[in-house]
């Protein structure tokens, strides 16, 4: 009652086990000959022994091979004596004519066990040691048989009959029951015609599958084949490698059962609780990893799961699996229904192996876990307010029942929820809800609340040694610190050398705090997890140090190669763990992005996309795509980016809360600005702004971005005062909501506006402020572009400042050329040329190549970007230089280019058609 699982571990005698016993008897007969009769050599004998060893190891698997399959395997193992082995086996079975024979059989069996106290063992004597693996298996069989009641013996007897009959019938290629079935369905179809009921067809099909008389063909576990192959290839070495083989057997058999037909095998339910639990866990992993992809058929699992409760009503874990399945196929009502049913029955005490059993759980149940799951479900289905209410209740209940584990998880879930919901929208929700945890923090901003929740969760998880939670909390913490820069008030300024947590190194540090999870999670394994779900090879790979990617790109590539190996074994990694690792790579990418190292960001994203793409959640996968597309847009031009976007759109547009649309708008806006199509740019800005304010609330970050883009559009339209108004207002908003990184870019924009409007003096302080911001927040790329703007401003003050400007530019050139995007690089080149040209000490005729090289580079890059304005400038400068040099032909060429770009800039309409 109350959903407590019965004691697990019943070891049932099955026909398959009896055949293993028969083979064992052949392997070690009680007659003490040096080499028993059928074997011609010791190696042959050893091979049978190895085979038996792997068979006994496989006995805890859910699926057992049929007699026919066993015979086929024997054929491979036994070589010349296979006929004898098979005959012996079948004869033995056919000699079991009554239950009494079974009884005698087991009595005989007892004889082959060596007595434990027979100390003196002769040299060649073959004795089955009762404490060896085979001996233990043997003893378990005998014990299990002795415990059977007479009815049990009868049932065993009749199942042995079925076992033999199936082998016979299938070998004879004639199956009476099969025939019957055909005629049966024929009749049914007749009936259908009479009744003409439309719905019957499906049901009939279903029923045909369900009815036990369909011969259920089982895929032989690959494991055995592997062993056989191993035996065949290296019979000599087999003793040496035996251990390894059995290990792989376990792993592979565990994985093979997930692929197995989901039809219900009748004998499946004679299995122990533990086996089925393990099987279900595997299925759950499978659902989670494949859930989002369409290739995974959730309906096949569903039909299988629907039958399970009929046959094993006390196995409540099935309901949870059905919930998972429904969750991934986005069926809200069924998911809710199954979740509630699961917790009603199990009281949360079954299947959650992460929770160490405590003394009081049996009395009150663990319904707080139900609340936690329900909250996460609501969140997933996009009901954040409901989710928050439920999670608040979960916090309260787990505090009441002092379930710290659940509390830690709940807090983590809550902080995740809050951080995902955006900033402005949550405040109203939190204000209304009553909660001991959140109410203490009611005066704080949402970010601070998220931070507190995370800290609390981390502390609890740390003390409870919940490694997965610790890891994911560290990850969340790193993410939080990345997104919400804390500005220490005292040591602010460019001189104070200090590190913010946005620095990739510190992000990696934070991530690494959670990384020991991976080498550790095997110790967390519980009786529920399938034995051998962890491959030793995989762990070995991990023993190798994997340093942070800061060291060098070289180390990064080495690391990814180990991960490629790792991927081969990825069947054995729990989905959640690999998701975590994957997410950490994405986070690294983001931190490098902020830092401004495009190659590193790209590399990390690529590592993620190639290695964790399969196991990732769809939102993470989408994020990786987004990052890669953004990278393309910056470094390869818009054409490539749009081509990639098309692919991503197909893949992810169905995902809830898709960010693809957002990216598309951004890209379109960018391109419209470059082409000078300001109307379109304005429209894109407005649409972005519309996306920012949803029905749920306002996404501040998005809103800020929208106004930033609006200001840029206005700037491009040369409406300077309006642009600066917008930017000033934006700066105030950023300050109010503590958005530090955006502040830096707004300042840069302001400097830019003043530069364009010709007020270089006014622009200087903004540029300087932006630089100092960037410096303190480790935004190196942004800093480089701010420095470029600063240099431009200096040049704007007059040609006598050209030298200073050039020095500034050269200082940041490495950064710009190494990490900057196409636009930035082009700007830098053009500016360099400008500087030289305006420098009075510079003579074009002697040093023309320095200028021309930069200009050529710039125009090449701008061509890819379709940035007409800058391209026109570059060609203009080129034409001027050629003119001075007197190279008329090239001058005309450059002038023609200039004309082309100017015309394109003034007639943006035809470009728009392309885009639409």
């Amino acid at each position: 009652m109350a959903g407590l699982t019965r004691t697990a571990g019943a070891f049932a005698v099955t026909p398959h086990k009896i055949s293993v016993c028969i083979l064992l008897q052949i392997y070690a007969p009680s007659a003490q000959m040096s080499l028993p009769f059928p074997f011609s050599s010791v190696s042959q004998h050893n091979r049978l022994g190895l085979y038996l060893l792997s068979l006994t190891k496989c006995c805890d698997d859910i699926y057992e091979p049929k007699l026919e399959e066993l015979i086929n395997q024997l054929r491979d193992v036994g070589e010349e004596m296979d006929a004898w082995l098979t005959d012996h086996l079948t004869n033995r079975f056919s000699s079991l004519a009554s239950p009494d024979d079974l009884l005698n059989f087991f009595n005989d069996m007892r004889g082959i066990l060596g007595s434990p106290d027979s100390g003196v063992v002769q040299d060649d004597q073959i004795i089955l040691d009762p404490n060896s693996n085979l001996g233990m298996f043997f003893r378990r069989c005998i014990l299990a048989f002795n415990l059977l009641s007479f009815e049990g013996v009868c049932h065993l007897f009749s199942s042995i009959e079925d076992y033999c009959k199936e082998a016979h019938s299938s070998s004879a290629q004639f199956d009476a029951s099969n025939n019957d079935l055909e005629s049966l369905t024929h009749y049914d179809q007749m009936d259908m015609e009479i009744y003409a009921i439309d719905k019957a067809t499906e049901e009939l099909e279903l029923q045909k599958n369900v009815s036990g008389s369909v011969p259920f063909h089982l895929h032989t576990p690959e494991a055995i084949f592997k062993v056989i192959e191993g035996l065949r290839v290296s019979p000599k070495e087999s003793s040496r490698t035996s251990k390894k083989i059995t290990e792989t057997t376990l792993v592979a058999s565990a994985s093979s059962s997930t692929v197995v037909d989901t039809l219900v095998d009748e004998s499946l339910f004679l299995r122990t609780n533990l086996q089925i639990q393990g099987f279900l866990m595997e299925q759950a992993d499978a659902i989670e990893t494949h859930g989002s992809s369409s290739s995974f058929s959730s309906s096949s699992i569903e039909s299988f799961l629907e039958q399970l409760p009929n046959l094993a009503p006390e196995l409540h874990h099935v309901h949870f699996l059905r919930y998972l399945n429904k969750l991934h196929s986005d069926d809200y009502f069924a998911a809710l229904d199954n979740l509630l049913r699961y917790f009603d029955y199990s009281a949360g005490t079954e299947g959650f192996d992460l929770v160490p059993p405590s003394a009081d759980c049996s009395m009150y149940g663990r319904y707080e876990i139900a609340l936690l799951c329900l909250g996460m479900m609501h969140f997933r289905f996009g009901h954040p307010n409901l989710a928050l209410e439920v999670l608040t209740e979960a916090v309260r209940v787990s505090q009441q029942l002092s379930n710290d584990t659940c509390l830690a998880y709940t807090l983590a879930a809550m902080s995740n929820l809050l951080s995902e919901m955006g900033i402005a929208s949550t405040s109203s929700v939190l204000g209304s809800s009553y909660s001991p945890v959140t109410s203490t923090a009611s005066s704080l901003s949402v970010q601070q609340r998220v931070y507190i929740l995370l800290k609390e969760s981390l502390r609890r998880a740390d003390s409870l040694k919940l490694r997965r939670l610790v890891a994911s909390n560290h990850l969340a913490m790193a993410k939080f610190e990345l997104m919400h820069v804390q500005r220490p008030l005292l040591s602010f300024g460019p001189k104070a050398s200090m590190r913010h947590k946005t620095c990739p190194v510190s992000v990696c540090k934070e991530i690494r705090l959670g990384a020991h999870l991976i080498s550790d999670f095997s110790s967390e394994s519980s009786p529920m997890t399938v034995d051998g779900s962890l491959s030793s090879a995989w762990l070995k790979d991990l023993q190798k140090p994997w340093g942070p990617p800061v060291v060098s790109q070289d180390s990064g590539s080495r690391k990814s190669s180990t991960y490629f190996q790792l991927c081969d074994h990825s069947v054995s990694i729990p989905g959640s763990v690999s998701q975590l690792i994957g997410a950490s790579y994405l986070l690294r990418a983001t931190s490098w992005e902020f830092y401004g190292s495009a190659p590193m960001a790209r590399m990390n994203t690529l590592v993620y996309a190639t290695l964790f793409g399969d196991s990732s959640s769809s939102s993470d996968g989408e994020l990786a795509y987004l990052k890669l597309i953004q990278h393309l847009a910056l470094y390869k031009g818009h054409k490539d980016a749009f081509a990639a976007l098309k692919i991503a759109e197909e893949k992810f547009l169905t995902v809830s809360k898709s960010k693809i649309l957002l990216l598309k708008l951004q890209l379109l806006h960018e391109r419209a600005l470059h082409c000078g199509n300001l109307k379109l740019a304005q429209r894109m800005c407005n649409e972005l702004g519309g996306l920012a304010s949803t029905a749920m609330g306002v996404d501040m970050e998005l809103k800020v971005e929208a106004s930033l883009r609006e200001a840029r559009t206005l700037l491009a339209a040369k409406q300077y005062s309006q642009a600066s108004n917008v930017a000033h207002y934006l700066f105030c908003t950023c300050h109010k909501f503590n958005l530090q990184i955006e502040k830096a870019s707004v300042l840069l924009l302001l400097a830019e506006i003043h530069k364009k409007s010709g007020n270089s003096v006014l622009g200087l302080p903004y540029a300087l402020a932006s630089i100092s911001f960037c410096q303190s927040f480790n935004l190196d790329l942004l800093r480089a572009s701010a420095t470029l703007t600063l240099a431009e401003l200096w040049l704007g003050l007059g040609s006598n400042h050209a030298k200073r400007a050039l020095d500034l530019l050269h200082g940041t050139f490495p950064m710009i050329l190494g990490h900057g995007g196409l636009e930035l690089r082009a700007r830098a080149y053009i500016f360099e040329a400008n500087c030289y040209l305006s420098d009075p000490n510079f003579s074009v005729s002697t040093d023309s190549d320095t200028v021309l090289d930069s200009l050529r580079q710039a125009s090449d890059e701008l061509e890819a970007l379709e940035y007409h304005e800058l391209a026109a400038e570059a060609s203009y400068l080129m034409a001027m230089v050629y003119d001075k040099l007197g190279r008329v032909e090239e001058r005309e060429e450059a002038a023609a280019l200039f004309k082309k770009h100017i015309i394109a800039l003034e007639n943006p309409q035809d470009v728009e058609q392309n885009m639409a």
Binding site: Y187, D188, M190, E203, T272, E314, A347
Partner: protein, 579 residues
């Protein structure tokens, strides 16, 4: 209207045919209806009249008016007379006789074996039926033998496959009779092929309507009103029985009562109809009437166990300990291993507050019938009393999984979760419960209380629920009072006054007094005074004066204030000194 005489003749023949085929429960049911028809004056015996006279005098108290006012079925409603099928053999074969006696001794497989090569329809049916029962018996045994670690074995009736094959073959050749169709329907139903099962059962009852077992199998397949409406049934008086039963199971109690009223015109003394009517009335919560009906039923049929669990529920609700113990004793002596008897005893212990014992008896009832819905729910109640919430939740959940429209179990689940301090979680269950019974004020009030808990404190939602409760004629008067208080709490005095007045009206009508009354009067008096409606305020104050206690003093001071305001003192003074 069908003539009573023809009914009687039909049933008499049917009973003989049914018992020839060993369909005993259908024969039993038919027999009950046979004596339920009003006595044939031509051949009455003194014992019969005594039996009937005793009951009819009581019945008249309740049903005379109804039976007169019951509209007769509309004109188009013509009862198609189904001819009684002729028996195919007048003299039974020897083997048949042997098989039947084996069957009667419950040696099903033996009976079936004897009839293996017989060709007469009766023998063929008995052959298959015995085989089916043998399979069922073996299945039950195996279920216990094979009970694995996961609770249930995969025991199935091993005869189903061959039965389905043979019966469908018979059906194809047209050699199947209506009894065979019934058995075929049962087999198809067990194999999970419901559409075909329904079709087969419909065909069976259309050709032979007197087999109540077929009707009740059909009913169990009609889980929605749509399925019921889609059935293509011939008109026959048995169809009315069926419809009454089906409506009842679909919670359409008034429609069901109408059917039974009509049937009572023919079967005036049928115990079955009376019990069914009582069931419907019970669902409509007419406990007094139900109690009288059951008393009468027991007087006519003192050793009846069926439906007596319902009677015990009524007695439980009325807290009639003595009557309940009497009933329990009587049933216990009649047949102690019936789920109903165990349930009655459980109810008795529960009423006595001995919850452990009650649980033990409910468990026994469930052991006898795993799908006994009310025992699961009642056991859940017991566990709630024992504060063993996980067990209670488990029990309720099982009830819900057996019948998803059992609003009591949904309600129980909600209650259990609320007890554990998870009101938000509980709301879902209350919602479910209300979905199935939307016009029960108790459920609305429970949900409102859930919203009102300090953890949620969602008062607006609570108000909405209480409003619904008021609309459903809340008999206990909680909703009005709570509505007034909530509005008062939210500072909406106009609404609060409205609801206090309504509550006062209700209490006046029912002649109740109590703290609620004082509260309402004080609030109303103060409210009207503050709004310068002195006359109304005075009325409420004077009413308060009738009672002693602090309220009286309060009323006096209020009155004083009113006088002062009325005698033209500067009103601003009063404004500043609210009393």
């Amino acid at each position: 209207m069908v003539s009573k005489e023809s009914c009687r003749n039909e049933i008499r023949a049917a009973i003989r045919q049914l018992s020839d085929r060993c369909l005993y429960s259908a024969a039993k049911w038919a027999g009950e209806q046979l004596v339920g028809i009003e006595q044939d004056p031509s051949n009455f015996t003194p014992s019969n009249t005594r039996f009937q006279r005793g009951s009819s005098s009581i019945r008249r108290r309740f049903s005379t008016n109804e039976s007169i006012s019951t509209p007769q079925p509309s004109v188009g409603f013509s009862q198609a007379a189904t001819p009684l099928p002729e028996e195919d053999e007048t003299i039974d074969g020897d083997l048949y006789l042997l098989a039947k006696s084996y069957f009667d001794c419950r040696e099903y497989r033996r009976a079936s074996h004897v009839l293996r090569d017989q060709t007469s329809k009766k023998s063929v049916f008995l052959h298959f039926y015995a085989l089916y029962l043998a399979g069922e018996k073996r299945k039950e045994e195996e279920m216990i033998e094979l009970e694995g670690p996961l609770g249930k074995s995969n025991a199935i009736n091993r005869e189903l496959v061959s039965l389905e094959r043979d019966l469908s073959a018979l059906r194809r050749t047209g050699a199947i009779d209506s009894f065979g169709l019934y058995l075929y329907g049962v087999v198809l139903k067990e194999k999970g092929n419901e559409t075909l099962a329904i079709a087969s059962l419909v065909e069976s009852v259309n050709s032979y309507p007197w087999n109540w077992s077929a009707w009740s199998e059909l009913q169990s397949l009609c889980t929605s009103i749509e399925t019921l409406d889609r059935l293509n049934l011939n008109n026959h008086w048995m169809k009315d029985f069926f419809l009454g039963y089906a409506y009842q199971e679909l919670r359409m109690h008034t429609e069901s009562l109408a059917k039974y009223d009509y049937l009572q015109g023919i079967f005036s003394f049928s115990n079955y109809i009376q019990a069914q009517t009582a069931k419907a009335q019970y669902s409509l919560r007419e406990f007094d009437q139900v109690e009288i009906m059951f008393e009468e039923l027991l007087r006519n049929d003192p050793y009846r166990v069926e439906d007596m669990d319902l009677y015990s529920n009524v007695l439980y609700a009325k807290e009639a300990c003595a009557a309940l113990s009497y009933l329990a004793h009587k049933v216990f002596l009649t047949d102690k291993y019936r789920p109903e008897s165990c349930c009655i005893i459980g109810n008795y212990y529960s009423l006595k507050g001995q919850h452990e014992k009650a649980v033990m008896y409910f468990r026994r009832a469930l052991k006898l019938n795993k799908k006994y819905l009310s025992a699961w729910t009642l056991m859940g109640h017991e566990y709630v009393e024992m504060k063993n919430t996980p067990a209670a939740i488990d029990a309720y959940r099982r009830a819900v999984d057996i019948n998803p429209s059992d609003y009591r179990a949904w309600y129980g689940l909600g209650q259990a979760y609320e007890m554990m301090g998870m009101p938000f979680y509980a709301l879902h269950y209350f919602r479910k419960s209300i979905f199935f019974l939307p016009n029960d004020s108790r459920l609305w009030i429970a949900m409102a209380k859930c919203y009102q808990t300090e953890q949620l404190y969602m008062l607006e939602e609570a108000i909405k629920c209480y409003k619904r409760a008021v609309n459903c004629t809340d008999t206990e008067g909680i909703a009005l009072n709570q509505l007034a208080k909530l509005h008062q709490k939210l500072g909406r005095n106009e609404e609060a006054a409205y609801y206090f007045e309504k509550d006062l009206e209700r209490m006046d009508a029912e002649g109740l007094e109590g703290p609620n009354m004082f509260e309402a009067l004080v609030f109303l008096a103060t409210h009207f005074k503050n709004h310068k409606k002195f006359e109304e305020a005075e009325v409420y104050c004077t009413r308060l004066l009738d009672y002693s206690g602090p309220e009286k003093e309060k009323a006096k001071s209020l009155l004083r204030g009113i006088r002062m305001a009325q005698t033209g003192f500067p009103s601003m003074d009063l404004e500043h000194f609210p009393i």
